[in-house]
């Protein structure tokens, strides 16, 4: 650290406390992550007894072996990538123009449209009407059911609108018009290249939500081959739940035996599966983080 002036005692105290506080925060955040990584390569017996609490104990890679041998996980991975890429592209195509248009003061009826958007943030039809809607649109058991209903998020539109509002001045728009640019041209040639931060942020917001979503898949899909990764993970964890469910309740012997086997495998696989499914997003973060901070901050501070 470069010190240009002498620190007073109070400054030093402040710094020390600051470091202490940050260290505590770091430990709080890091511990669960480390725990999961360690648990994924430890023998489940030690994990369950609590003997494994930080560093791996009874090292084993069986969990990962089981995960990677499971064709469903790969299929789920592929589906999730498809949903995430297609879904996010559609999200951007819908969100950015909407947000830009709503940010322009010369857009007639912007308040009306904004109001209409806002209503959907606070009121929605609920689960069963949504299901009926999707059913009547013929989207049940199609990939569209996971992409189309979530094409636009009003929250994200507002964030992007604020960004456009504060970073693209009206003068720029006027100058372009004087040079003979159409609105479409202006948006594609001038506004978009200036808006990389918000595009990255939007892509990340939407991408993560697609990656993590399972509820629409649960409700709308009947066909296993279309399940996204999160659904497959759930199914694996269900097996463990089933074994817990049998606690006390006598069922048939075949089931009890099966559950007994499953429980061991499930606790072995659980942590490996968490790692495998979150790793891609975790890896993606540092690369987008630059834009992430920039983008959100610009929108919020000046807006």
């Amino acid at each position: 650290m470069v010190t240009t002036f002498k620190e007073s005692k109070r400054d030093k105290l402040f710094l020390a406390l600051n470091y202490l506080y940050l260290t505590v925060a770091l430990v709080l955040v890091l511990y669960p992550l480390l725990y999961i990584v360690s648990a994924s390569i430890s023998s489940p017996q030690y994990v369950n007894t609590g003997e494994m609490w930080l560093f791996p104990k009874g090292f084993t890679l069986d969990g990962y072996k089981l995960v990677f041998d499971n064709p469903k996980i790969w299929n789920g991975y592929m589906n999730t990538v498809i949903y995430t890429v297609l879904g996010t592209l559609l999200n951007l195509v819908v969100t950015l123009p909407a947000a830009y248009a709503l940010s322009r003061s010369d857009f007639v009826g912007r308040n009306l449209f904004m109001g209409m958007f806002l209503v959907t943030m606070f009121f929605n039809g609920g689960l069963i009407p949504s299901y009926l809607l999707i059913k009547n649109l013929g989207l049940i058991n199609t990939m569209g059911a996971l992409i189309l209903p979530v094409a636009a998020s009003v929250w994200n539109i507002i964030v992007a609108r604020t960004f456009f509002h504060s970073t693209i001045p009206k003068e720029l728009q006027e100058a372009a018009h004087i040079d003979g640019s159409t609105n479409m041209n202006l948006f594609i040639r001038i506004v978009l290249p200036l808006s990389m931060p918000i595009i990255a942020v939007m892509a990340l917001f939407y991408g993560v939500s697609h990656w993590n979503s399972y509820f629409p898949a649960l409700i709308y899909l009947n066909d296993e081959s279309k399940y996204p990764l999160q659904m497959v993970l759930r199914q694996i964890l269900v097996l463990q739940e089933m074994s817990a469910e049998t606690t006390g309740a006598a069922i048939s012997g075949d089931i009890a035996e099966a559950m007994n086997n499953k429980a061991e495998i499930a606790s072995l696989v659980k942590y490996a599966v968490i790692i495998v499914s979150t790793l891609p997003i975790v890896i993606l973060y540092p690369f987008l983080q630059r834009y992430f901070v920039q983008g959100v901050m610009i929108g919020s501070v000046k807006g």
């Binding site: 369950n48 694996i236 097996l239 089933m242 049998t246 006390g248 069922i251 048939s252 035996e257 086997n261």
Partner: protein
Amino acid sequence: MQQKRKGFALLVSATMLVGLLAGCGSSDNNKEGGASPSVEVSKEGFPIVNEKISLTMMAPDVGLQNWNNMAVLQQMEEKTNIKMVYNNAPKDSFETKKNLVFASGEYPDVFYAAGLTPAEQMNYGEQGILVPLEDLIEKHAPNFKKVLDENPGVRKSITAPDGHIYSLPVVEFNQPWYRNPMWYNGDFLKKLGYDKLPATTEELYTFLKRVKDEDANGNGKADEIPLSSVNLRDIRTWLLGAYGIYEEEIYVDDKDVVHYTPIENGYKEYLTFLNRLWKEKLLDQETFSQTAEQKKAKAQNNQVALFSDWHAYMTLGGEQSMDDPMFAPVKSDMVDAPVIAKNRGVTTGAFSISSSNAYPEASMRWVDYLYGYEGALLFNKGPEGTLWKYTDKASLTKEYLPVPGGGDREDYRATLTPNYGIPAPTISIPETSKGLLTEFDSWVENESKTKLLDKGARIPYPTLFLTAEEQAEVTTLTSDLTTYVRQMEAKFITGAEPMANWDSYIKTVNKMGGQRMAEIYQAAYDRWKES
């Protein structure tokens, strides 16, 4: 729109047809569905239909194999000429999906292993969404009819208060356990020199105490957890028996009087006993917080003396062992002999037919096959020649074949048949597993026979339907009652609430409807008894 109108005409005729067949004359059915009743359904033998038909089936799925690829279901399709289109939802979220489907107005033709609750059966039965099955059973289900004729109790248990049968049950008479049994750690017994199991609560206390004090696992540390449990749910029923109580909530005594357990005197004694165990650290101090996996981990660490599981080895780890004896119910001073609960053997809601099903007769014949020896065998053990073969077909004796690919037998079975971990419509017939039982299986059977069945185990309260009003009232009452009762149980046992407060506890429970619970179930029981 056009199609809808056409559908409507068909719907009217379908409604009338179904009404006629079922003889129920329910009037305001407004459901969709196109009937093509031209297909001939053969009375007996296979295929069931001469022309291939297709039905949709909704079922929970444990996610180990796509149902389209299951050998058993493929064989079934070939045999019956009925193609099932599977509409699966993962088992853990099946309830959500089931409710959505009922709300959506577009129903699958049949529900398989859907676990329809009595309330759902009555509700959707009255709305005409589920078809009454009694006439179909009469005409098209020889196997299931035989089950009903041989066990009149089953018919009573599956008939709704309006006189209709809306679902077929899981019938399981060979499995006597109401809850998973409790098991002793055989090594501990030997170490402490027990050749006779504790027979009274006092003896049980002494045993647990000795486990703790005399270092039963011999590691020099007093780390023994004499009695371990997850939330008490797994051991409650067994211990209540010592105080003359059959079940944790509702039971009927030998004089046909129904009791609500949490307000019984015996229940108080049970709490007192467990409180004593708790204070002396004989009951696992993590009973109310741990998971089943954690309990198992402790047992595998050789710390636990008494616990509940399907088989002892599942908790203790290792191979199947006949050295860990089953817990023989103990008695207190209150009673002459412990009472023991036995499995009801009948679970309703395993199979239903919806009103949009155009082929109810064919569907009934399809499922009826599963209630016969052949069908039950196929669905529960897989096709002949894969995991088992006959050694003597005349006496139905079989033997296991090595698992193809050498993996786990149960895992492999799960890829063959849907009857794995779900409440599927079936019946357990002793002949199904003839020759397949190991020495261990026979030992377990003998343990339950001598320790439970011969000691007078019986069903605590029969499977029966409450009326819609009763059901509604019970649902409202239990949601609060159960929470309060379980909370207080934990408090009394851990000592957070002194036993001196028992009277005010009783007052609160009765204010919340404890006594009323007993009355409702008494009325239902009296009806059941008379019918």
